[in-house]
Amino acid sequence: MAEGSDNTVLRFEDVSVVFDDVLALDKVSFVLERGESRVVLGTAGSGKTTLLKTAVGLIRPDSGRVELLGHDISKMEERELYELRSRVGILFQEVGLFDSLTVEENVAYPLRNQQARKAVDSDLREQVVEALRFVELEHTLDKFPSELSGGMRRRVGIARAVVTAPDVVLYDSPTAGLDPITAYTIMGLLIKERDIRNAATVMVTHRYQDGQLLANFRYNPQAGEIEPASRNGSRADLRTKFMVLQEGRLVFEGVQEELEASTDPYVSKFVRR
């Protein structure tokens, strides 16, 4: 990596974002390191999505500093950001699949269109099928997004986010509006992606159980499924931190035990669900 020994993937320093006189983010500061996972909890409108969009420069901070993969992006020109963004995977809440492109073209999109990449067509298809196999949807290549169920669309979105093997993956409410079984499948994919490639992961959610899964489960490549990680195992919960947002302010940051022990009425609401 060009950043040398610095392990920081994402750094927020006193970041504030204002929308029409309302503070969407209020002096938020945190640091995400390589291989680390972060679960961001908060109610609707607490600034979770804004935080993710600010992290990749889709929204510019009104004050403060955002550092992504060693580059200060708060003042960067949009054009310079494109290359940096090609090293980040992002899944939007509404997925944002291109509805006039097939599943295959959607997943191939970053490979084919990112300027930094010189994809050859034959490799490209292989990579696309590989990414779709990862989410177990390799049979849907020729389908259009409108022909898929909500859960399948999310999975295609995950395949598109990770097809470029990004250094950091950001998920915006990946399980919102899904039934418990599909939600569990999606969380399994997130954990699998994190553990196979050791990518830094930020997941925004309002469901504490999603965070619990991300913190306490790991992917077992032999069995091909997720299983509880032992506390002293290779991935104990210390690699996963929780953050809680309340009306744009970061009101809690810490590991699961600290979160469960919190006496703050707002923070503890998420745990007692």
Binding site: Y82, E83, V88, I90, F92, E94, G96, F98, P110, Q114
Partner: protein, 252 residues
């Protein structure tokens, strides 16, 4: 006090910012050639039938209208000239561009508008591609290239329509005289303005369509609003630009 002026000035400024950004992406790679050819097919080839139809009827009605006026002066032999000049200078470029504004400008605005409201534009940016380069540039290039060609088709078909009305139907003149006067009346000045106009109108149609599409907010209703605005604004600017260009060429 002058607050009411803010929104239109803001819109004007945003539009020129988009135009500037698009111009800057023109020489810059990647060029997305596949997207350009796809747009040329949709914008150019797709508009041929309607352009044929409109060209033909405007030429024919022109010959019909002129038949009485010319007969008063005993100058029915000049019908070819009248049809050719009006078509090449004015009717061809303006009618073709208005039609394309309705067909293509609305299409661009609604497509980009739908993409905007369903987070696809954000997704595009997040996936490391520039929406201006990927969406606006191919549409601008394709429209600017195909609209002058469509105008040439409309002009020619219009002259054929005028001929069919003037010679076989009304017997105003002979075939040779019609085509001869049409051909001889056209000067370089006419051809230049006849091709410069659709080129400028194409830039207006594509950029206005993209601009209103990309700034769409407010769900499906917003998409409808953006589409209407794109067509209305593009049409107005076509008329305004037409007047300015004509003013310049009349003096040349």
């Amino acid at each position: 006090m002058l607050d009411f002026l803010k929104p239109p000035i803001q819109t004007f400024q945003d539009f020129f910012l988009l135009a500037g950004r698009t111009l800057r992406t023109l020489p810059r790679r990647p060029h997305y050639r596949d997207d350009i050819s796809l747009q040329m097919d949709m914008i150019g080839v797709g508009s041929v039938p309607i352009v044929l139809l409109v060209g033909f009827f405007s030429g024919a009605v022109m010959a019909l209208q002129m038949s009485r006026a010319l007969a008063q002066y005993g100058a029915t032999g000049q019908v070819g000239q009248i049809v050719a000049i009006t078509l090449v200078r004015e009717l061809g470029p303006v009618l073709t561009s208005l039609l394309v504004a309705g067909r293509v400008g609305s299409g661009i605005a609604s497509e980009l508008g739908s993409m905007k409201v369903t987070e696809q534009i954000d997704a595009m940016r997040a996936l490391g591609t520039d929406p201006v380069q990927k969406l606006v540039k191919p549409r601008l290039t394709a429209t600017a290239f195909t609209l002058p060609l469509l105008t040439i088709i409309a002009d020619f078909v219009g002259m054929v329509g005028g001929y069919l009305m003037a010679v076989p139907v009304l017997s105003l003149t002979t075939r040779a005289q019609y085509w001869n006067s049409a051909y001889r009346s056209l000067e370089y000045n006419d051809i230049t303005q006849g091709l410069l106009k659709p080129f400028l109108f194409a830039i207006i149609i594509a950029l206005v369509g993209c601009y209103y599409g990309l700034r769409t907010t407010g769900g499906t209703q917003g998409v409808g609003r953006a589409t209407t605005q794109a067509v209305v604004v593009a049409s107005i600017w076509i008329f305004v630009t037409n007047l300015m260009v004509t003013r310049i060429f009349v003096n040349l």
